[in-house]
């Protein structure tokens, strides 16, 4: 929230968002199947990126774990997909991620940010190893088959997750907790001295962000039909949301959205032709963004608009 209340600009953006959602919701009716599949992928990246930003954006605590929660969601779908209805599987995927995130947060968020980053870095590998060991030693299988779901259903589930996420992100940002999260990023010690329970706020926010990553994983698993610990826990999915958020710009909520849309589309274009080159390019984009785009694409746009404004009024 800001003391400025709802400005005309954020109403404008909200309007755009509603328009986008309506367009998307009706798209399977008139768009060809491959477009629906593309849109699902893009929505998936938007969900991962925006949910990452809910916590890591304002507080500055860099989580390198989106792949871990995404993978947990995938495995939930693989394990429970035959036994439970789809909606339950997706929700449980989100819940398991929530619980794991609570535990991770409880251990690491009492300490300096570097410990949190370090811990989350290896988390995806840890869970991968644990599941691998479990499959080799306990169940004797390697990998699982996931239930098959048609593309239109996958798209709509992802769309619902996306809408719920945007609503959550919007409400957190506008609430007093959003303001408190920002103050934690500004000066955590001062924040705790004015009555903010910084540890609890951090842990809960981090856990909330994990819900959506887990839910997204659960639904996307149905697209891949066969998964094993290597497929489900892929370090690329820790890197890409972080890259997209930084590339887009973390100041506003539409920054990560924009970053995810642009880079997800780019990935689709390059994926089939240049499998390793596109990740190489993304690595380069990350380094360039850190060096030259401190506020991402959004920051760049704002800078140009300000400069245009100054130039326009230069003679007054």
């Amino acid at each position: 929230m800001s003391s400025k209340g709802i400005t005309s600009r954020s109403s404008f953006l909200l309007g755009i968002l509603c328009l986008v959602v309506v367009l998307l919701a009706t798209s399977p009716m008139y768009a060809p199947a491959y477009i629906v599949i593309l849109l699902t992928s893009i929505l998936m990246y938007v969900v991962l990126t925006v949910s990452w930003t809910i916590f890591s954006g304002p507080t500055g605590y860099i989580s390198l774990a989106p792949a871990a929660f995404f993978g947990i969601g995938i495995y939930t779908a693989a394990t429970l997909g035959e036994a439970l209805p789809l909606a339950a599987v997706v929700i449980i995927g989100g819940l398991v991620s929530f619980i794991i995130a609570l535990l991770v947060g409880a251990v690491t968020l009492r300490l300096r940010g570097i410990y949190f980053a370090i811990f989350t870095f290896g988390l995806v590998l840890l869970i991968q190893h644990l599941l691998l060991w479990y499959e080799v030693n306990i169940t004797g299988t390697r990998g699982r088959f996931v239930i098959v779901v048609d593309n239109t259903t996958i798209f709509y589930v992802m769309l619902i997750i996306f809408v719920l996420l945007m609503l959550t992100a919007f409400f957190i940002r506008r609430s007093k907790y959003g303001l408190a999260l920002q103050s934690i990023g500004e000066n955590e010690e001062a924040a705790s001295h004015i009555g903010i329970n910084v540890t609890v706020l951090k842990v809960i926010t981090f856990a909330i962000s994990a819900i959506f990553m887990g839910a997204a994983g659960a639904i996307m698993a149905t697209r891949w039909t066969y998964i094993d610990p290597y497929i489900a826990f892929n370090t690329n999915f820790s890197f890409l949301p972080v890259l997209m958020a930084i590339f887009g710009g973390m100041g506003q909520l539409y920054g990560p959205f924009l970053g995810a849309v642009i880079l997800a589309y780019l990935e689709e274009l390059l994926l089939t032709e240049f499998p390793y080159y596109y990740m190489l390019l993304f690595g380069i984009i990350m380094v360039v963004a850190i060096l030259y785009l401190p506020n991402g694409i959004v920051g760049l746009i704002q800078k140009w608009r300000k400069e245009g404004f100054r130039r326009k009024h230069a003679n007054t």
Binding site: M1, S2, S3, K4, K176, L179, A180, Q182, S183, E186, N187, E189, A190, A191, S192, H193, I194, G195, I196, N197, V198
Partner: protein, 239 residues
């Protein structure tokens, strides 16, 4: 009954004893000065009271309840607020948002957003910062940043306010205004402990003064007592 009591408060950092067996009492409604050479342990004592650091031994009680061992946000909600030697405002947030956060999270009983907003605006007026309501805190002058930090602390509705070197970096006119500010805060019924190096301020507004040196309390008394104490003069001039 004293509003704040400290019994044999001790804190070490590795081999270094920062605060050594300090006993103190602060009466409700008084202004207590805390002075001593640099490194005497004054800010450490503040950190121990506010919960930023944990005591090695001893105890601190606020309104007869033990607070040593509680976390800063809990101690704030109980009624103790502070400012910091190196100003810790929320640099990229507006002045209003800085104070608003204090109103929203600091007081014992939770307020609605509208009430908190009104309170915050009121406090900015009291501090003569209304013109800078929407200015990012980092763009304020040093004096205004200090005033902002005080406003934010007051927003948490404290009964005890800890001021850490409020006057540092202020010119003589600003020091006089700051002194008036401290007196007007006390007039609201808030007890104040202030760490200061500006002797004029300490001598003029404090009811009592406590002197720390190498972590130990070496003297305590009225400004007159302290000003005429040979030991204190030695300590300050000898350093």
């Amino acid at each position: 009954m004293p509003i704040l009591e400290g019994y044999q408060v001790t804190k070490n950092f590795g081999g270094l004893t920062a605060v050594a067996h300090v006993d103190f009492n602060v009466e409700q409604g008084e202004i207590l000065g805390l002075i001593g050479p640099n490194g005497a342990g004054k800010t450490t004592l503040f950190n121990l009271i506010s919960g930023a650091l944990t005591l090695k031994s001893g105890a601190i009680k606020f309104k007869d309840k033990t607070i040593s061992g509680l976390r800063p946000h809990q101690i704030c909600r109980m009624g103790i607020a502070r400012t910091f030697q190196s100003i810790k405002i929320f640099a990229n947030m507006s002045a209003l948002d800085n104070v608003l956060l204090g109103s929203l999270f600091g007081p014992k009983s939770v307020m609605s957003t509208n009430e908190a907003s009104a309170k915050a605006t009121e406090l900015l007026d009291f501090m003569e910062l209304s013109n800078s309501k929407n200015t990012p805190a980092k763009d304020l002058t040093l004096v205004n940043q200090k005033k902002l930090e005080v406003a934010r602390a007051l927003a948490t509705k404290p009964e005890l306010l800890l001021l850490d070197e409020l006057m540092a970096g202020l010119n003589p006119t600003e020091v006089i205004h700051a002194m008036e500010l401290v007196k007007s805060i006390r007039a609201k019924g808030i007890t104040i402990i202030m760490i200061e190096h500006v002797m004029k301020a300490i001598m003029n507004i404090c009811d009592r003064i406590m002197v720390l040196h190498h972590g130990e309390k070496i003297a305590e008394g009225t400004p007159h007592d302290i000003a005429t104490s040979k030991r204190i003069i030695e300590v300050y001039l000898g350093e």
